[in-house]
């Protein structure tokens, strides 16, 4: 199976393939036929792009500057939505909650993913089994079922509450009822899904040439040095990919926070799980404030775009692309 997924080394293309003899009639009709075939095959995607992506993007930008309740025609109100948003304590709360979630959850999740990947990369018996088992939470973690389970595990008197009291003497009670703690149960839920980035780390680790470690070991480099000077630079492209993907995904968490927070309004005790998309949903679909919600969506897009840009910009400082890397 693996080999089929990886047969993609570039092949020399025969000369007649790319540029047929210039100017001939057969070439022109051939090109026309290629264009026709291309756009026929592309037609579903093109329709989707125009109807469901590009069009809605433009419309949502317009809505962001209007007052729109879905029933009356949108009223142009200029920057009012944005002014209101920045002054809105619940909006500020949602930014705070989301930032906390991203800044705490993503590094923890990636650290867990890398740690376990390093463990599993040592290829012992059972590796494939562990890899599969650790991956499973990534598939079910976003479901309502698991959010329900999570709520149960972190309520008063449930296992987490008892364990923290017994082993750490913490008497904070269940996390889901506590505005200071509930977000950490959401963080725990995302960390639990470390399997997906772990699989990507593992694939990266397998590409690291073993000779490097052998040479380093001969030179007397200890395990930490080897990790810092060989492993980390060699897997930095994969690390970059994981950081980018996980950060962008965390910004958009919705279902888990919504269910874990008791799906009400306020979202969680004292709005403690009011993630950005939760507030966006409430404003747009519970309060029918489509204009305000569109403005919120554009702020999210700008934030995600900025984070992406910063990550790409920072790339040249810490991501090493090898010449011979695929």
């Amino acid at each position: 199976m693996t080999h089929t997924m990886e047969t993609r080394q570039p092949r020399p293309s025969p000369p007649g393939d790319r540029a047929p003899r210039p100017g001939s009639a057969s070439q022109r009709s051939g090109r026309r036929r290629e264009n026709l075939a291309g756009y026929l095959f592309m037609s579903p995607w093109l329709a989707g792009f125009l109807l469901l992506t590009a069009g809605p993007m433009a419309v949502s930008l317009y809505f962001a500057f209007t007052d729109y309740n879905l029933f009356d025609a949108p009223q142009w109100i200029g920057l009012s939505n944005f002014q209101e948003m920045f002054a809105d304590p619940r909006w500020q709360k949602s930014v705070e909650v989301t930032t906390k979630y991203v800044v705490i959850g993503t590094p923890l999740k990636l650290a867990a993913a890398l740690g376990v990947a390093l463990l599993l990369a040592q290829s012992r018996r059972g590796q494939a089994f562990y890899r599969a088992a650790f991956y499973a939470p990534s598939l079910i973690g976003a479901s309502v079922s698991i959010a329900i389970v999570w709520r149960a595990l972190f309520t008063d008197g449930a296992i987490v509450d008892r364990a923290q009291t017994q082993f750490f003497g913490l008497n904070v009670g269940g996390w889901v009822g506590d505005p200071d703690w509930i977000l950490y149960s959401l963080v725990a839920l995302t960390v639990w899904q470390f399997g997906a980035p772990m699989v990507i780390f593992l694939a990266g680790l397998k590409q690291v040439p073993r000779e490097l470690y052998e040479a380093a070991a001969v030179d007397g480099a200890g395990p930490l040095r080897r990790f810092w000077n060989i492993t980390l630079p060699m897997i930095s492209p994969v690390l970059f990919f994981n950081v980018l993907l996980e950060t962008i995904h965390s910004f958009q968490v919705f279902g888990s926070a919504y269910i874990l927070g008791g799906q009400g309004n306020p979202c969680g005790p004292a709005d403690a799980t009011l993630v950005y998309t939760c507030y966006l949903y409430q404003q747009g679909f519970e309060n029918s404030r489509m204009g305000f919600a569109s403005a919120m969506a554009w702020m999210l897009l700008i934030a995600v775009g900025l984070v992406t840009a910063v990550l790409f910009w920072s790339q040249k400082r810490w991501v090493h692309y090898e010449e011979n890397a695929r």
Partner: protein
């Protein structure tokens, strides 16, 4: 290409930051290393599987014991949580939710496999004008948050009076909106030997024939990966159904569970836990059957990113 055997020089694997310094006696050290490795892996396994084991055990306990009891599996399991499900939630049989979810998930799979493979074929095998621009646009949509599109899409479907139907949830799947799968398939198709479709073209095959008879069969692994991911995402999807379905008869499993949380949490906690487990079963079954495709798909798309 992956080296699975420990080399002679370093007994530990290549990437062990925690490996102890070289010692004189190899064999016992190797054995302790192996033991530690398995202990570590097992510890992670316990944490990872605990919630799943908990929901299995919990579904066999009486409602009032589920949260508080530390015993993972009850000594005398009861099945009333499951039999109680046959009464349905708010007079709607649970099977309705499962049927709706199945329609949504299977419908999504069909759409994604057809439309994304068509786009991927054009991107990788047809040289048409504007291909690079469209490819760049497609990649651009990969990281686009859904929330920017959500409101205008909702307005569109509302004007078309398609709320409370599956159309808003399915249409995008038939229009190759899931750029991730297009990308996955493009990567795969680019790796197919060019000689095959060139030979076919010399034999007079058009693009349709090449796509259908040569490229699609060879792409099976990528198609299967996309199909399973699509099924699982559609099955788990919460926000889409929450936006578009508001009659309980149309609800998917996610919304059925939400209804449980809303209404019956206090009355039938056990039933909710039982249904949570049943809702996970299709995903877990797909995972067990196809985990290699999923993990390899994950790993390759990650590496190429």
């Amino acid at each position: 290409m992956t080296m699975t055997h420990a080399p002679v020089e370093t007994t530990s694997g290549p990437v062990g930051p925690g490996t102890p310094a070289p010692a004189e006696t190899r064999s016992p050290r190797k054995r302790t290393g192996s033991l530690l490795w398995h202990l570590g892996a097992l510890a992670v396994l316990v944490v990872v599987l605990y919630p799943v084991a908990w929901v299995i055990g919990g579904s066999l306990k009486p409602s009032e014991e589920i949260v508080g009891s530390l015993q993972l599996f009850p000594s005398d399991p009861i099945f009333t949580n499951y039999t109680g499900l046959s009464e349905g939630i708010a007079d709607i049989p649970v099977s309705t939710f499962f049927l709706n979810s199945t329609v949504l998930a299977v419908g999504s799979v069909v759409g994604v496999v057809i439309s994304c493979s068509m786009a991927a074929y054009a991107f990788s095998k047809v040289r048409f004008a504007g291909r690079n621009l469209l490819f760049a646009l497609m990649i651009g949509t990969l990281l686009l948050p859904f929330h920017v599109l959500m409101i205008p899409q909702y307005v569109l479907f509302q004007k078309l009076e398609l709320i409370n139907t599956m159309v808003p949830l399915l249409l995008g799947k038939y229009l190759a909106v899931d750029a991730f799968f297009v990308f996955l398939m493009v990567q795969f198709m680019r790796g197919l030997p060019k000689e095959l479709d060139e030979a076919a073209r010399l034999d007079g095959c058009g693009h349709l024939r090449i796509y259908w008879s040569i490229v699609l069969p060879l792409c099976r692994p990528a198609l299967i990966t996309s199909a399973i991911f699509t099924f699982i995402h559609a099955w788990n999807d919460f926000m889409g159904p929450l936006l578009y379905l508001n009659e309980p008869e149309k609800y998917t499993v996610s919304l059925g569970l939400k209804m449980f949380v809303d209404q019956d949490a206090l009355a039938d906690y056990g039933g909710m836990i039982a249904m949570s487990l049943v809702a996970l079963l299709p995903v877990l079954a797909f995972f067990l059957a196809f985990q290699r495709y999923l993990i390899d798909g994950m790993a390759t798309s990650g590496l190429k990113g």
